[in-house]
Amino acid sequence: MADRPFKYRLCLLGILFVVLGTIPLWGSDYMLLFGLLLCLYMAMSQMWNLLVGYSGLLSLGQQAFIGFGGYSVAVLTNYYGVYVWLSALIGGIFSVLLALFMSLFIFRMKGIFFGIGTWIFAEILLLWFSNWEYVKYGTGLFIKPARPPSMTVIFYAAFIMALSALVVVYLILRSKIGLGLMAMRDNEEVSETIGVEIFRSKLFCFLVAAFITGTTAGVLYVFQIFIQPYKAFAIDWTVILVFIVIIGGIGTIEGPIVGSFLYVLLTQWLADYGHTSMLILGLIAITIMLVAPKGIMGTLQEKTGFTILSPRRI
């Protein structure tokens, strides 16, 4: 396989990221908002893709980490005066601990049961937080850092998360664990006989996804200022991630990037029209499932072999 086309494709991706990363220099305030949302969704959907597309873990409860990460930032910043971005990282660490705890219960379940298990955990967290006096029950918290960061700083935090998510996924898939995951995806029982440690690999991915999702959520809520349990732990987050990844292409690294872009574009364009954007997303998702189940990038890869970041080493 020639190296030159690969370099071209890498350049393409690089240019996109440079364009994205320099928005504060040339873009309007609105473009900055757009880019910010794009980065946040890219990071979270990349993680969901890692779980579903590569590890076979159908998680319907990522919102557990989103809410947890967000509330960590709120509590640490407001009550203890911790520096905002440090709180986000700590939020990520708390999310990992939560994921470890969750895994004790749900890792013995398979398939849809695993998914519903994660969903139930998220609902339990929702109810727990809305009844907890420490976080002011369901009234929600305003995140008020001592020195509120500017939109540009928040944007760069989100950009770093998006880039990190991409790099982490690429590295994992190129590593031994990644090879094991792909073997597992093809045939779980056989791969176990040749020594792939399924449980360990899956748990590792679950924890990594929890960390990045939690930290990204921290950045998200610094941007949104206001967090309340009913929205932070809502199944709505999973709906968005599912759509982004299905439409973009499940099991491809570029899929979540394309999917996030389409999602933010569609919701911003139709923002004044309430729920039509979700309706259209639902229709697109079903159509894709029926017609091109591998999503945009997946079908592209299948038909033309066009990939920028291939997890395959060959």
């Binding site: 579903v52 159908l58 219960f105 749900i106 013995r108 379940m109 398939g111 849809i112 049961f113 998914g115 519903i116 298990g117 969903w119 139930i120 955990f121 609902e123 339990i124 109810l127 727990w128 809305s130 009844n131 199944i235 709906v239 599912v242 759509f243 299905i246 499940i250 309430g274 729920h275 039509t276 979700m278 309706l279 997303l281 639902g282 229709l283 998702a285 079903i286 499932m289 029926l290 189940p293």
Partner: protein
């Protein structure tokens, strides 16, 4: 002990309602081995249809059942026939994701058509109460829900036992290839099964609409309840639905009694998680 009687009574009655909510989803799972993530939303669709018919014809919601049940049968038949049958295969994801997409489409369409305002199906029964002794009250509506739910479960049981279609469905679910060899068009059968499941969802929807207020987005709440009943009672078991429903409802109400109303749903979820972890096939389910 005295004041536990009311929550226990309410729990039994509410359990019946929960059972009929889960019935359709549980039966479909037993047949096609798929969890229909859109079940809650389809049930709420039934509630809204009843709203429309009741308002249009000026009828009591009970009469609207005559119209809603057939319509929901057709809806179920079409969904399975044209949508879900196409993605039934070896992989788990496509049918789940199609059902997911369907759920979102339903919720948002209902939102656009009916607005997010709270709705409920008005009936005189909603405020009637029968006092039983000095401290106990029988909420008439809950009681009616319970009776109707039992009737539906019984009817479905007889259907599967006595009718040709019922037996064909059971055959297809036990051994698809064998059933095909006997001349049964299994894809068609699945569509019929879904239609019937939707008929039970229609009844559940009307009952729920009369008992509680509903919005376009209340579907997922009932999906979790249906799932809870299914897990606790047993995957694919109809008797399990009733038992599971009662257990879940009691967990919620007794839990609320001891820990406070804010934790009502939480108690139900905890019981669900415990059963999911210890005996995922449920009380009456096969391992």
């Amino acid at each position: 002990m005295q004041d536990l009687l009311q929550p226990i009574l309410n729990g039994i009655l509410l359990g019946g309602l929960y059972a009929v909510i889960a019935l359709g989803m549980n039966t479909m799972f037993g047949i096609v081995k798929l969890v229909n993530l859109a079940h809650g939303d389809l049930m709420i669709l039934g509630s809204y249809l009843s709203l429309v018919f009741s308002a249009w014809l000026g009828l009591n919601p009970f009469w609207s059942l005559l119209a809603v049940v057939p319509v929901m049968f057709v809806v179920g038949f079409l969904i399975q026939g044209f949508l879900l049958n196409r993605v039934l295969g070896k992989e788990m994801e496509p049918p789940l994701l199609v059902a997911f997409g369907l759920s979102i489409i339903l919720q948002n369409s209902l939102l656009l058509v009916f607005t997010p305002d709270a709705r409920s199906l008005m009936t005189d029964l909603s405020v009637k109460t029968i006092p039983l002794g000095s401290s106990l009250n029988l909420p008439v509506l809950y009681f009616v829900d319970f009776l109707l739910s039992c009737a539906v479960i019984l009817a479905l049981h007889l259907f599967f036992k006595r009718t040709y279609l019922g037996r064909a469905i059971r055959a297809s679910s036990d051994d698809e290839v064998g059933a095909r060899l006997m001349g049964i068009n299994t894809r068609n059968i699945y569509a019929y099964a879904m239609g019937i499941a939707m008929m039970t969802a229609a009844v559940a929807g009307v009952l729920v609409g009369m008992t509680f207020t509903f919005y376009p987005h209340t579907g997922p709440q009932y999906l979790i309840i249906a799932f809870g009943v299914m897990i606790i009672g047993g995957l694919g078991s109809m008797a399990g639905c009733l038992v599971g429903g009662i257990i879940l409802a009691e967990a919620q109400l007794l839990g609320a009694h001891f820990t406070g109303p804010g934790y009502q749903l939480l108690c139900g979820y905890l019981v669900l998680l415990i059963v999911l972890g210890l005996r995922p096939q449920g009380i009456f389910g096969k391992a």
